[in-house]
Symmetry: C2
Subunit: 331 residues, 2 copies
Amino acid sequence: MKVNNPVRIVAAGKYLPQKVDSAILEAKYDIPIGWAEKNSGVKSRHMVTFESNAYMGARAIEKALEKAGMKMKDIDLLISAGATYDYPLPNQASVTKSELKDAGDYHVATLDIDTTCLSFVSAFEVAAKMLDGKQYKNIIIVCSEVSTKGLNPNSRETATLFGDAAVAVILQYDESGVSGLIKGGLRTYSEGVEHTIIKGGGNKYFFKDHPYNQDLHSFHMNGIKLLKLAKKKIPEFMDWFFQDLNATIQDVDIIIPHQASKTGLIIFTNLYTLREDVVKGNLVDHGNCISASIPLVLHDLIDSGEIKRGDICMLTGTSAGFSIGGVLIKY
Amino acid sequence: MKVNNPVRIVAAGKYLPQKVDSAILEAKYDIPIGWAEKNSGVKSRHMVTFESNAYMGARAIEKALEKAGMKMKDIDLLISAGATYDYPLPNQASVTKSELKDAGDYHVATLDIDTTCLSFVSAFEVAAKMLDGKQYKNIIIVCSEVSTKGLNPNSRETATLFGDAAVAVILQYDESGVSGLIKGGLRTYSEGVEHTIIKGGGNKYFFKDHPYNQDLHSFHMNGIKLLKLAKKKIPEFMDWFFQDLNATIQDVDIIIPHQASKTGLIIFTNLYTLREDVVKGNLVDHGNCISASIPLVLHDLIDSGEIKRGDICMLTGTSAGFSIGGVLIKY
């Protein structure tokens, strides 16, 4: 499979807040012991205490830079990719940059990209196409998600599913042309636009006219409709994605699906009878960390050496909107 | 000046809500008659009554498609570029897509880009680099901003400055290679991160813990600090932007600055002693429409025939964050 945009993943760094076992949440929300692991597939996740999106993101960036032996002045663009944010304005990337040490000393461009859970995937595609070895030599993507504040404790399904995390990944124009983006793509199926939603807090239900209300301001997920739509549309998406590649998903060495939910992952794996050693995940000990899930799995595969240069790797999944997307890369 | 990414602006469409004269706001907020025009430079602006970001955005898209003689199925990517949104989740582009007629019939990719007031500029740069004449032949950028809900009536300076609007612009891979992006770039100066901010309503001051409060949940602008920083950094940005182009801002035929404020525009124009017929604007009858300001001016220049194929055009300005950015294009 031909690399179209030469990009090398140089390094990744992460920040995880405090670990919280499902038993703690089950006790707190009056949920039967063991329900979370059995139903959501999550034994533990991490949850913020004092941390902001910017704080976690900045720490993940520092880790990634340290591993790469780079400094912020080497970076040409900082993309904050994700769905949650510290302030409605300004954009998260500029807030995250301001949390970095000596932030006033370098003037790296900042940009936010949001396709909710697929934000890392979309940012990877955008970054790959911007990297030109001239103006853009190094781009850092940071996914820092605080999902747990917006959960409804009355909804077991979501209250036990999500986690908080930040991951930063440094991408570099690959002079050698070995590593890179083979293809990226996304499709939005509007019949699912309200299947996952936070209604309150934007212009539609403005704070001033709609005071805080647990239902209105919490994340709402229609799990049944969502799974039905995903099951129907994933094959359509994959056919579209692979049609011009002379390949199928079976030719991929490593697949990192978004850690949407236990049932979602089972449906995806069964659709293609994928081997367990090909499909990588971390739902059990991280939960669904929105856009941070995919790069978090990638981060740990890099650290453990499980992913090797030359591996064909697909990052893919579904997101609120409702969208299905993916990038196929040569690591 | 060499075109690096062949892109042709095919058509633009706009949607404007109800026009509101400054006299109406002055009466409502107990501001002396004539204050707004004199100080903010705004005689009238448009303000939403029933409209959402998605509603206005969808109508602007429909207009642009109509003018181009195109249909949504011809579009490969819909970018929603801007700072305001209907819902905290999902991303605005997917919500705007769902507002379009027959939205279920086509599955165009949706993506949000946010660099606040410079979102159109950033989205233009990203789109130009994604357009390849193969997978991405046509990209539509929509900037739909509802700014007026988040204004503090106690702040004359901001309450009379902003307006609501939506603009959609269709970009096409230019087979002929005539039109396109010469250069795009942005720099973020973190010392200004809090000069323009909406503090409440994100994770930092979460709705649950911080009920609606006019100061906390309204747009806050430190105009004096902002103007001082802009004056200092614009020359630095322009030197950086033009250094490798063998050109200066004086070589540009048409400049569309972000319509930030009356004083901001005067500072910018005076810095470079730019001719009045080169610098285009619409602050007086639209106000600052965040990301929609720049494409709105562009839209009207296309409609009036004031911009011609081959013109060298710069879209530039400052944004919350604090950033300065621009794209230099051959129309």
